[in-house]
Symmetry: C2
Subunit: 469 residues, 2 copies
């Protein structure tokens, strides 16, 4: 359980199909090995799977045309943004056409008074925040990688700010989508809320390209807070760290970010980012608000940390200090993978009710300590969501097996605690059996929807679940 | 456009069907005129439509059995909670069986440390909050009426606290649903977030009973804040009131509630609730947080209100004062309807981007002033959502026509501003044409989903949209 599911044999492209792509897209069509190979890799441990062709879309109209050609010819179509997903979500395992949306990178509108903006799917989150800064606004969702907004929507991404600002589920007001029947729809208007019909916006968020191609996204924005402070605190015990977070939330402290990193992850961070933090279980915090209110938040959390055995509580409101801290956090994945030279990364994530988090992490830690493959723990502790990142020798198949077994035990542990097999990475290729273990017959309802909207199973086929069973 | 759509002729129940209901449900089955009539009324102006039978469910198993019987016999099934919806959402316009869930009123679990609880669909929101109070927790969604949690889920309700705490869309972690194929599913686990497959939770929220019957709801809860203050402030101009809200949000004040009531609504409130507020455009505020932070919020908003021509800014942190204020707000609908003795209510709502709200309300106000039917404006101004409530003479058909025309202009105005035809009441019977005007071909995607999940069109048929077109 847990590995990539077997795929049916790849079908060759129908005769004349590439010609029709060429007449439609000219130079925007690529069939050379290098570009196909680039779109057939994954950030993690999955086997490469090359598309037969790549089309670089420049407009929603391009996507409509491509969808119509693919559907008419029965050819799979897979959307691609920045390639930063880690469950093989964008790998074209049955070949066909990859539609690369990275050139659709226009910021179409910023409505400052309404705290929203509309962007093309290929806009990256860092680009968006640079664009917004002058207007005193920011887009909070931060999965670490500089992903595209379209990809983040398709995988229901979240990250470090979700505890305060929510995930992509809450961040999106409306989507423009090309559906499998070739329609160009908007899922909602720009109003902040609506009770008008089925929530197609939320249905598309997290559907991993299996129900249509997202080409534009309207996002909620937030005012850059008057004051931002960050803090770091080490703990002798894992429970002390988790309890600090739970008690802070119970007291109503609106933590903007709170990240946990275990001792091995701190060692990896120190080594990779050339820092000298204590190599203990550590919390990284961020506080947003008015100056007075941020001060009050820091004071409250410091007291709670003290009561829970926290030490070396270091806070700062200097932007340089903050950047250094979050840069280290953002590089944590690469730091962990590179604990061994030449290693390849395997990242997994689960999310449990926060009352079970300390227990879940403690048991996982114990399991990791018995393993020959280094694995670090880091996570978004305010949401009950954490990751394990393995630094795996690509030439040792036994390590792959060992990691698969640890991952299986981790997911089983999370499910037994009424948690989920993935908090933010998605199902992709890696967690299909676990989806069924988690939701049972509800998966049959998903299949009915998939069959109704994409009867030929051409949109990112082979992902999330088997089409028919 | 806007009135109830025509329905196909009602089919008589198949022979023996009532007998099979009787053997299954015994005394929980009612076929008498009085109970059928009670379940065939709506809170608003719609024609009564009586079910052929009412079944009082006491468990999810009851609902599963009823669904199987109805589906096998091709009989419509409509869920009913407290009957407080106002777009005719629960009227059984094609007859069949109404399943009354009000006896499923158990609070199944409160997980205080996780800030969540699981309740049966028939639990009412006031009952839930009374139950939670001792644990220092509350459930924030407050549509005014003491609705059931299941009904609030099915209509994607929101109300006065949504500006701070979100709507039912954000408040629900997971649902237990009986699907049209008779399965008893859970849409999600209890983890705070998940990227596991399609978001069936959000698909069901707002589906108005057309895709299945919600029997249990797992809700996010919040800590009762250390301090709560309320405030009232009158404005000479509508723009002054709206600008006060927009500027407060821009400055990052986390308003917990902010309601606008126009001069006529204030007159109605004064008369109905025996109060003496100035009869001017008025904002009702509520602030949540630590004592110091609430003080800071009140001070900031007071200054902003001053700059925008606010007068008589009256704030209080006394619970009695606050209760009086919000009781008046909760009674506003009845106050407005009863501006004329013997009148019947017609309530409509739209939601627009907040930058257009002042303009939208001003134009609507002008339209209302030219009408012979009294209509008040009140709304959740922080979300851009407002209501118009008419006090309509039931014996004057010309008034109905006049109100329909005003409503049509209101919705067209909101759509022209990239708003929605309903912020929180749902589509029900009253806004089906407007749904198509709002979302165009996206409605075809909704129809594909409906057909796939409920191929016989038995679940609350005739609501949201026509089944096939």
């Amino acid at each position: 359980m847990g590995a990539s599911p077997p795929q049916p044999p790849r079908k060759p492209l129908p005769e004349g199909f590439l010609d029709s792509l060429h007449s439609a897209f000219g130079e925007r069509l690529a069939t050379g090995e290098a570009i196909r190979s680039q779109h057939g890799q994954s950030e993690a441990h999955f086997e490469p799977a090359l598309p037969d062709a790549v089309v670089f879309a420049r407009s929603t109209e391009d996507v409509v045309e491509l969808v119509r050609l693919c559907v008419a010819a029965g050819v799979p179509i897979v959307a691609y943004g920045a390639g930063t997903s880690i469950e093989g979500n964008a790998l074209p395992v049955r070949g066909g056409v990859t539609v690369d949306l990275s050139q659709m990178d226009a910021i179409l509108a910023v409505n400052a008074e309404d705290f929203d903006c509309t962007v093309q799917a290929g806009v990256r989150r860092e680009q968006l925040n640079e664009h917004l800064r002058d207007q005193g606004l920011f887009f909070p969702i931060d999965p670490g990688a500089n992903a595209t907004i379209g990809g983040m929507a398709a995988t229901r991404a979240s990250g470090t700010n979700a505890v305060r600002y929510g995930t992509m589920r809450e961040a999106i007001l409306s989507l423009r989508v090309v559906t499998p029947d070739g329609r160009d729809i908007r899922t909602s208007r720009r109003a902040r809320k609506s009770a008008a019909g089925y929530d197609l916006t939320r249905l598309m968020i997290g559907s991993e390209g299996t129900l249509g191609i997202i080409t534009e996204v309207t996002l909620r924005l937030h005012a850059i807070p008057e004051a931002i402070s960050s803090a770091v605190c080490s703990f002798e015990t894992l429970e002390g760290a988790v309890d600090t977070v739970v008690q802070s939330i119970q007291l109503g402290v609106p933590l903007a970010r709170v990240e946990i990193l275990d001792d091995l992850q701190m060692k990896a961070v120190n080594r990779w980012s050339k820092l000298d933090y204590p190599e203990l279980t550590t919390l990284f915090f961020e506080f947003h608000g008015s100056s007075r209110y941020v001060e009050e938040q820091v004071e409250t959390v410091r007291e709670i940390a003290d009561m829970n055995g926290g030490s070396a509580f270091r806070w700062s409101n200097l932007p340089e200090e903050r950047s250094k801290l979050w840069k280290a956090r953002h590089e944590a994945y690469y730091a962990a993978v590179n604990l061994r030279p030449g290693a390849v990364g395997w990242a997994t994530d689960v999310c449990v009710p926060i009352s079970r988090l300390a227990e879940c992490i403690t048991e996982t830690k114990r399991d990791l300590e018995g393993s020959s493959v280094p694995g670090t723990i880091l996570g978004h502790v305010g949401d009950g969501n954490f990751h394990v990142v393995f630094s795996m020798d690509p030439d040792a198949p036994a390590e792959m097996e060992e990691v698969e077994a640890i991952n299986a035990r981790l997911v089983e542990r999370a499910l037994a605690m009424d948690g989920t097999c993935t908090g933010e990475h998605g199902i992709g290729l890696g967690k299909q059996d676990w989806l069924v273990a988690e939701l049972g017959e509800a998966v049959e309802m998903m299949r009915l929807i998939k069959r109704a909207l994409d009867p030929q199973d051409l949109f990112n086929p082979g992902k999330i679940f088997a089409f028919s069973e």
